[in-house]
């Protein structure tokens, strides 16, 4: 038994000698570069799943009609933010098909007329543990935090992080903290968390 082990060790030593000089730093570099590529290109693709909005809503068309963000994204009387408009709001104009865009037809026929709310994907929903007051941030322009969808005909793809379950565009805490710090606003936990 001992003999065998001795031999094994010998082999290892032998191999080491043989290998001296073979390959040099090249394999290391190959591994390094491969990992860097995988980490920066492959990994993000793996990490996020892609989703598209149920209805191709064009913010651009609506804005061209002279509507503002606040025309549909409104505050309630208690100062809370209604966020996305519901059917009731959309149907003020789209109770029936009024235009020629097929997306509108889809909305009217599959949602509005069936009384079903559209399951919109929200790019920047904060997790449940965040209390975000739109009212307190009213003085900022929407686009300072949100994707500038106002100019888009097709809503952007929604990326969902497979690990954390959040949208890729969900604002990270450090971003909130930085802006608060720059503006002299408290960064105490409960200013944003619930």
């Amino acid at each position: 038994m001992d003999q065998k082990l001795q031999e094994l060790w010998g082999e290892v030593m032998e191999e080491k000698k043989q290998c001296k000089g073979c390959g040099g730093a090249l394999p290391f570099l190959i591994g390094f570069v491969a990992a860097v590529i995988a980490g920066w290109v492959l990994f993000p693709n793996l990490l996020y799943s892609k989703k598209v909005q149920p209805v191709r809503f064009s913010h651009k068309v609506h804005q061209e009609q002279g509507m503002e963000c606040a025309s549909c994204h409104t505050f309630r009387d208690d100062g809370s933010y209604a966020g996305l408009p519901n059917n009731e709001k959309c149907m003020e104009c789209h109770a029936d098909v009024v235009g020629s865009d097929p997306a509108e037809k889809i909305y009217v026929e599959q949602y509005a007329q069936k009384g079903k709310e559209v399951p919109w994907l929200v790019y920047q929903y904060q997790p449940d543990n965040v209390y975000f007051s739109h009212k307190a941030h009213e003085s900022f322009e929407c686009k300072e935090c949100h994707l500038e969808v106002g100019k888009m005909d097709t809503p952007p793809v929604y990326y969902e992080n497979r690990l954390s379950g959040y949208s890729k565009q969900t604002m990270k805490m450090w971003q909130c903290e930085r802006c608060h710090a720059e503006n002299g606003v408290s960064n105490a936990c409960h200013v944003c968390h619930k």
Partner: protein, 685 residues
Amino acid sequence: MGLDRRGFVKIVVGGVAGTLFTPVIWKSLDDVSIWSQNWSWIPRLNKGEVKANAALSKLCPAGCAVKVKTVGGLPFAVVGNTANPMSQGGVCPVCAAGAQLMYSPARVKSPMKKVGEGKFEAIKWEDAEALLVEKLTALKGQNGKIAAICGDETGTAGEVISGLLSGLGNSGYYMMPGEKFVAEKGVKLMGGSGQPGFDIAGSDLVLMIGADALDSWGATVANQKAFAATRPTGAAATAKFVYAGPVLNHSAGVSDKFLPVPPQATAAFALGLANLLINDGAVSSASDFAEYKALAAKYTPEEVEKATGLKAETMKELAAMIKAAKSPVVIAGASFGQGGGALDFVAGASLNVLLGRVGSGMTLLPAAPKAVAGAAASEKDAASFLSEVATGKAAPGALLVYEANPAYALPQADEMAKALGNIAFKVSFSTYMDETAALCDLILPAPHSYERFDDALNPYGVAKSTYLAGKPVVKQPAMDCKDPVDVLLAAASKLGLSLGYDTYADVIKAKAKALGADFDALVAGGIWTGDAKGGSLNLGASALAKVAVPAADDKTLAVALMSNQAFGSATLATPPANLLVISDKELSGKDLLVQMNAATAKKIGVTAGAKVKLTGGKGEMKARVHLNEGVAPGTVGVLLGFGRSAWDEFTKGKGDNVYKILTVSDEAGTGLKVWAGSTVTVAKV
């Protein structure tokens, strides 16, 4: 060049090193920790507009006027209705848990038909209703064959059920025994009529004899608000509160004085007090004053001390306090909602007559107009009825149970459950799978309080006539249920009977109209109040002559039934959100803790924490001992509401049901079934 071991190692090392320069590790580490705040098996919050809608929350016996908060249309919390002059924004602990109760695991999810012992099968509503009609058709017109037990004292639903029975040629409409039933009997014994009420807000001294008015007696939230109004924080109190009863309960806890009175000595205590007051110069113009005075004279301080253990000075101090008060009121009642004798009520109420407070401190509410013409004029009690069923004196073929749980909440509960077994076809109209529903042949799920129309007239204890009504808060009930009254009205019409309405909402509208109230204002959170009526009462001396003070017994203990509103009621097991309110001095694991003072424990040879068996009548229950110096001597305090055999994982099998060991007796002179004076033996196991 082949890849040898060394080359491979180099690649791996290079890969690891390279990875450190990518976001893989750092981003994953971060995302995994973010994932830990977002675990899929933990529910997410609901989004949407938060609203508060007025509702009538009939989860507690008195009913709370509340506002149900919803988010995106889903109820999640209950707050008070500040516009309601009675509750003034207060909510009782049961109604505070009301939104979660909508999703209680104990809810009956759809109509169920019994298919075997303890086995049910979900059926369609049309089949269920057809079955109901079929059974009732068969028994129609045979008096005594159809009976109904109702556990809702305040709703107009009772009139519909009673009217339906009359229409079917039956007079078997029974009420679950409650405080109101006994009190009305008592009022009759005092030569009056109507439902008594007590004006706490208008009194400067409130003596509660037995009645736990600040926790679980009467319109509790209104009582609590009236109490609170007299105690402004940081300023002098404007009224005194005294609690005389077997246990230092929640009412006693905030009272200025607590007098431990064993449950069987309630009347003796009241008459002893009458004696002192009369000696102090109290007179009454009541016709039977002389008789009363002679009777009270027998209850000398010495006699009272023998019966209650209270010292003569203590009684004298109390008498002096009452004398000094400008507007005292005595609230007489059992320390829990039922089973007290009418004599105890009369003894306590007679003090109001003696003090000249009838019509002000103690009022009598006028009879309200009925919405259903055929409804029975007077009420019969379910305990007596089921006793007759047990002995075969009554033999109904069908029983309708509405908002009642006789299999659990009547004395000798096991016997009552057996009596129910003698009835061939039993229907339960219940929101929850309670003990009675579990015995029934057909369960027709009723909507939760926030899913239906309902009303509440004169909850027991209110000083003025009051009427509340509520409409559904949600668009759709959480379960496949139908309003029992709607079901019964539909059945009636199929049986060829017209009660004049199609839905319960119509009934309530008519009731409101009859009272002169505005239905729309009511369901928007309004209230209708009527006047209180005085009426002359005598002192009930002839009835009180029958009061007997049971001789003290070394072997048995008197049972003081304790109720804690948060723990639910006869018809509602402790709501899931209220479980936390149960303290470790009340329930330990699955063991109920019964309470007695150290001297009593020593006398019967048990120690704190000891496991004991309580035996009374034909039943027994298991518990453990908790020492509480606030329990009257010779008394064991037992909490109501435990020992559920149906319901859900949160309540089933926890503690034991005290109803099993209560013994029913006939009260001398009144013929009432009473069990407030039950005695039990307590032995170590």
